[in-house]
């Protein structure tokens, strides 16, 4: 009994030291989040408010998006609507080629990741430079993020040190984090200055003002958009919030939940194009409007992409981002993958012990574990349920619906205790790989009760 996730997790756990480091480090972020949340007495009301605001905005998307568009146009921005990944990529390419852009600098955007933007542009000869340090490291390594907020959490400094010797001419053997970070700062500073266009995602798009809000710690979104005069900002349509009052709620939750900081270093509000510059805003659907119809899973649209559910997930921490087949890992990724293409991404549904911790840390109260439970119920209908699990469940059902048979089985179960060890602990017994078997008793509770022994 296994899935792509469980196999990849097994491989991840073989490196005991790295796996333990991964677990400890992400737990530390979760602990910081706990500390932060407990310094705010109204924390739970904030989460309720965030959830209610998202339920409001996601059920008024038609109105709020049009209000946003109207205000953004009045601010002097260009506004585009992209149905899917392909249209999103094409719009960006057309803007860039229309301005003869050859050097393009980006700040982190999970939407770009979702839509395969970098590959699309590079094929057409545009140099794309990621400016978030973690993303830049991965781009140079030709790897994908393993976490949505800490994309390079799985890479050790020694590997980065070696990479920077090749790419940035740093001293061989100097793997000090401060040294390496400042080497990247120097290297990327030139990329910022010489780029002809800059792009950001958006954490929030404010309907009442037509502005986009971007949260970073590094300041890379602002470094990029304050150099070249051509700015592109794209967001998934669920990023819309009604007004700045709502931002008061979300900005108090986002960084505290995600990284355990009171707020990110930069919470930037882009409302107008720079003087003599252009601001192009792309509103992207790519399957999101479809999710609105799915009542059981519509709350995934509440997600702020803070990453808290990954940090708390005992399975994510012990299996790493690459063990999931969807580009977003962890509890939210399991659900988003299933909404995207269940027949492609069902292997991730096993990666959950239903501990419900994710639901408790989520700042916008996405019912993550409940949704995973519901996906499990849909697996059989999709034709992708595990055959062994189905057999086991069917067998249990048959047995448990027949008390006489159940009692008979109980009476004889203790025979299993005296079976030779090799019959119990072989390759077929996945329980036996980790544990000793529970010992069946000679007399079950049913039996004892009947005999008056209780």
């Amino acid at each position: 009994m296994s899935t792509k996730h469980s196999k990849a997790a097994g491989a991840f756990l073989k490196n005991r030291e790295m796996a333990a480091w991964h677990d400890e480090t992400l737990w530390m972020v979760r602990a910081k989040r706990d500390k932060m949340s407990k310094e705010v007495p109204e924390w739970e009301q904030l989460r309720d408010a965030a959830c209610a605001l998202k339920m409001y905005s996601n059920s008024h998307l038609d109105q709020l998006l049009q209000e946003f568009e109207k205000n953004a146009l009045a601010n002097g921005a260009y506004v585009y609507w992209a149905k899917d990944a392909d249209e999103y990529c094409k719009i960006i390419y057309n803007i860039l080629s229309g301005h003869q852009v050859k050097h393009f600098i980006k700040s982190k955007s999970m939407l770009a990741e979702e839509c395969g933007l970098n590959e699309y542009l590079e094929e057409k000869g545009i140099e794309v430079v990621e400016s978030d340090l973690g993303e830049r490291i991965l781009q140079l390594m030709h790897k994908r993020p393993s976490h949505i907020v800490m994309p390079a959490i799985h890479i050790k400094k020694e590997e980065i040190g070696e990479l920077f010797v090749r790419e940035m001419g740093t001293e061989p053997g100097n793997n000090d984090q401060t040294y390496l970070t400042h080497a990247a700062r120097k290297n990327l500073r030139q990329k910022f200055i010489h780029a002809e266009a800059a792009m950001t995602g958006a954490n929030f798009a404010v309907a009442s003002t037509g502005e986009c809000v971007v949260c970073t710690n590094e300041g890379n979104a602002d470094m990029g958009t304050s150099q070249p005069k051509l700015q592109i900002t794209a967001f998934g349509l669920e990023k819309i919030v009604p007004d700045r009052e709502a931002l008061g709620v979300f900005t108090r939750l986002l960084a505290r939940s995600g990284t355990g900081q009171p707020i990110t270093s930069y919470t930037s509000h882009y409302r107008k194009p720079r003087k003599g510059g252009e601001l192009h805003i792309i509103i992207v659907d790519n399957g999101r409007s479809q999710i609105l119809a799915d009542q059981e899973h519509v709350k995934t649209l509440n997600c702020l992409r803070c990453g808290a559910c990954m940090n708390t997930c005992p399975v994510y921490r012990r299996s790493g981002g690459y063990s999931y087949t969807y580009f977003i890992p962890g509890p939210i990724g399991i659900n988003l993958g299933m909404l995207k293409a269940p027949l492609h991404y069902y292997d991730n549904v096993s990666a959950c012990s239903l501990c419900y911790s994710c639901q408790n840390v989520c700042p916008a109260k996405v019912d993550l574990a409940d949704q995973i439970y519901r996906w499990r119920q849909r697996m059989d209908g999709l034709g992708v349920a595990s055959k062994e699990k189905k057999l086991m469940s069917g067998g249990m059902k048959f047995l448990m619906e027949r008390p006489a048979l159940f009692n008979f089985a109980l009476k004889n179960a203790s025979i299993a205790n005296s079976l030779p060890r090799w019959t119990l602990y072989n390759g077929m017994n996945d329980w036996g790989k980790e544990h000793e078997m529970p010992k069946f008793v000679k007399e079950s509770f049913n039996e004892m009760w009947k005999k008056g022994k209780v």
Partner: protein, 204 residues
């Protein structure tokens, strides 16, 4: 049909229950407040990796800035004069105004920039900078930043802050909390990822 119409139609077709907008009044009224805003702001700035100093009645602003950043040579200032209490002080330690350059790339190599903050938030050390120069790159490209902030403009929390901010004529503003930072290499915290390595707020 255009993608715009397509998307909007899809949204309308798929939207089920329409939820009311929540009333945030009671949350905003009960939100964190601080008895000693100046003390709290100074404390939280340290936690955010920056610093806040209170300008004394007799202090000379230029001296304070130069004591904080004695090695700064190329100093930009957005402000020419600053009202501090009863008197107005001139910024004389600056060597140029950021809008003197044509190209923002020329601002690279600025040691220190002096800018003005509009609102300071006690719960998280964020200061609202409303763009008031053409080259907003100065807020990010300078190695160090001094933000001048009237202590009367400290607010408790983000709810209060959002009631008072504006993006102004340039249509840009940022809540900045401490220096630029990253922990992308093994979660080790490093100041100065892309923006200022050091940020000091001087409370007037």
């Amino acid at each position: 049909m255009s993608s715009r119409e397509d998307i909007l139609q899809n949204i309308r077709r798929n939207t089920r229950t329409r939820y009311e907008r929540p009333d945030l009044t009671s949350l905003e009224e009960e939100a964190l407040t601080y008895a000693d805003p100046v003390g709290q702001f100074c404390k939280i700035m340290v936690q955010m990796g920056g610093k806040a100093v209170v300008l004394g009645k007799e202090d000379d602003l230029n001296e304070v800035i130069l004591q904080l950043y004695p090695d700064a040579k190329r100093i930009a200032s957005i402000l020419k004069e600053v009202p501090t209490g009863e008197k107005i002080q001139l910024i004389t330690c600056a060597t140029f105004h950021p809008d003197e350059v044509e190209n923002p790339g020329e601002l690279d190599g600025t040691d220190l920039a002096i800018v003005d903050g509009r609102i300071g938030v006690c719960e998280n050390g964020a200061v609202w900078l409303q763009q008031d120069v053409e080259q907003r790159a100065i807020y990010f490209i300078s190695e160090a930043l001094v933000i001048l902030l009237d202590r009367k403009n400290l607010v408790n929390n983000m709810h209060e802050a959002y009631k008072r901010i504006d993006t102004g004529e340039y249509g840009y503003g940022v809540f900045m909390s401490g220096p630029s930072k990253t922990a992308d290499i093994e979660q080790a915290l490093v100041m100065g990822a892309h923006g200022p390595r050091s940020v000091t707020v001087i409370l007037l």
